[in-house]
Symmetry: C2
Subunit: 201 residues, 2 copies
Amino acid sequence: MSKQFDFYFDFSSPYGYFAAMRIDALAAKYQRTVRWMPILLGVMFKVSGSMPLTMIPLKGDYSRHDFDRTARFHDIRFNMPSTFPIATQSAARAVIWLQQTAGDAKAITFAKAAYQAYFAEGIDISDSANLLKIATELGINAAELEEGLNSAPIKHQLKMNVEQAIERKVFGSPFIIVDDEPFWGFDRFDQLETFLKNGTI
Amino acid sequence: MSKQFDFYFDFSSPYGYFAAMRIDALAAKYQRTVRWMPILLGVMFKVSGSMPLTMIPLKGDYSRHDFDRTARFHDIRFNMPSTFPIATQSAARAVIWLQQTAGDAKAITFAKAAYQAYFAEGIDISDSANLLKIATELGINAAELEEGLNSAPIKHQLKMNVEQAIERKVFGSPFIIVDDEPFWGFDRFDQLETFLKNGTI
């Protein structure tokens, strides 16, 4: 049984943000670590014929209400961004570049900071300039990051990650796979915790 | 503040079934009662451009896995029916007829029995003969029920109920509205309970 499990998320996903604020603590409680895997939901929506929740008739209005209420329920700071959804390729590439050059811990710190910037501070993280500013505040070299973001190997790695996620039948955000057991959605954290605790449900 | 709140469900919805097995006990805990409102998701899916979960690529396989796991997690007897989804007009009309002729308690007892027949026993409740058998076992006059199922006023009432549900922005099953606060999904029962307890989240 691997100590590490996989957390797939898109930076434009509110429930992905909520999961991101809680998943490391949940994993640590059961002596596990988390592999953070940024993905691009837009690609997956083409496979499953889906679209962003907020754009679906009826469901859209409800989901906006549910984002706010779920944030309050779990005591997570949240302000629905005025620009939503956004392109998240640059943020995802930044995480991958950090994983390869600075290690998982730094990449996770950056991912959390980027998520909070977008979903709490209202900063548009589709804008590379804003990503570089967030990185700089974390002591990351902005010039090197910018080069990394635009490099062919990093772009290729993100493409591979998304393709592999689809092969593993990931179709939403957050999506967690622990020992081949899949959990879709922040509202499966209760079942995820039971699985981490008992190895079965 | 009304003592009663509304529970919308489709008889072909697994999560609606799980909710049906738990909602009366949850309501009673907070001195509330439940108005059971059978609806037809097919009509709503046309509005929201959606379709049954199990028919969506990728999401379909996951959802079948999640039905089984959620049933185990909540200790609810469940066997995925071989015929799914099914037409639920007759079951919904039976509930409405019972509400009008025998009262809410009998209608709820029947609704639970029909749900269990379908999702635990594998009985096809789109077949009126099976519905009449379930009714007979509950001491309901099958001939009267059969006439009621096919009567214009009952058909009209179901149509009205579905239209009113759509006006209230109901788009899925289960869908609960308490004091104008909407909750979609069995996995919102944690938030629903907090709302019943505190009147706010």
